[in-house]
């Protein structure tokens, strides 16, 4: 492995992702946690760009940063009465840390053993990848049914969350 210029954006984006993730689980101030989450999601979009999945990167920024992060931030602002008074972690946090460490070690060992030898992609990304993706989603042999189910799921979630979160009248 020799040094190449692509390492710089990779390390930068990986640092954003991991640093943001650390901030999410560690920071005591929930708003800061939400902002760290946004940073992590942004770094993830950068990693997608490095992996040449530009459409997914755009969708990531749009869905996660433009919708989910905003939603979470607003929820924190609405429900912030007890913020900062209580402990951020519960009693089982040492066990939780141990479990997550074990998960990390297991995943890393398995991944490095199985895929440590993969240094290069097998083929370049096709030039019309977005067209292929669109055709795959609209293809009855491909993912047409899951695509429709996903839209029904989103509609159900939309209606359900409105019903749940609406203030009861009278």
């Amino acid at each position: 492995m020799t040094f190449s210029i692509i390492w710089i954006p990779f390390f930068l984006m990986a640092a954003f992702t991991i640093g943001g993730g650390l901030g999410v689980v560690i920071s005591r101030n929930l708003i800061h946690a939400a902002l760290f989450l946004a940073l992590s999601l942004f770094g993830m979009a950068g990693l997608f760009v490095l992996l040449e999945a530009t459409f997914i990167a755009g969708a990531q920024v749009l869905v996660y940063l433009g919708a989910i992060a905003v939603l979470i931030t607003i929820t924190i602002m609405v429900t912030r009465r007890l913020m900062g008074i209580t402990e951020t972690v519960n009693r089982q946090w040492p066990i939780a840390a141990l479990i997550s460490l074990l998960v990390f070690i297991t995943l890393t060992v398995v991944n490095v053993n199985a895929f440590g030898a993969v240094l290069e992609p097998v083929a370049p990304v096709p030039a019309d990848d977005i067209t292929l993706l669109g055709l795959l989603l609209a293809d009855a042999e491909g993912y047409f049914v899951p695509f429709e189910v996903a839209s029904v799921l989103l509609l159900a979630a939309l209606i359900g969350s409105i019903v749940v979160a609406r203030e009861a009248r009278e």
Partner: protein, 102 residues
């Protein structure tokens, strides 16, 4: 290019952070955020495998799009539930919502 395993390590680290957050944080919104981290780690794995193993087949990207849909639905419903609980019980701490607990 960067070796595939580096992306996988980043994803694994993010996933275990999410596991820690879900198990250890008390605030329900923080738990939701940790779940989002785990979903993102899965997305990174999917895209990395797509890029390195089968860039000609778009199934990896299609799966990520479905994960997006599920994550958006999950965030919307989860946050709505949290707001609803906050209205009736004045708390967003997951342990304090214990009416059904022995």
């Amino acid at each position: 290019m960067i070796p595939l395993s580096w992306y996988l390590i980043v994803a694994a680290f993010l996933f275990s952070l999410g596991v820690y957050g879900v198990l250890a944080r008390r605030n329900a919104v923080a738990i939701l955020m940790a779940i989002e981290l785990m979903l993102n780690a899965v997305n990174l794995n999917l895209i990395a495998f797509w890029r390195y193993n089968s860039p000609g087949i778009m199934a990896g990207q299609a799966f990520v799009l479905f994960v997006f849909a599920v994550a958006a639905a999950e965030a919307a419903v989860g946050l709505a539930l949290i707001i609803s609980i906050y209205r009736s019980r004045e708390t967003v701490i997951a342990e304090d919502v214990n009416l059904l607990k022995w």
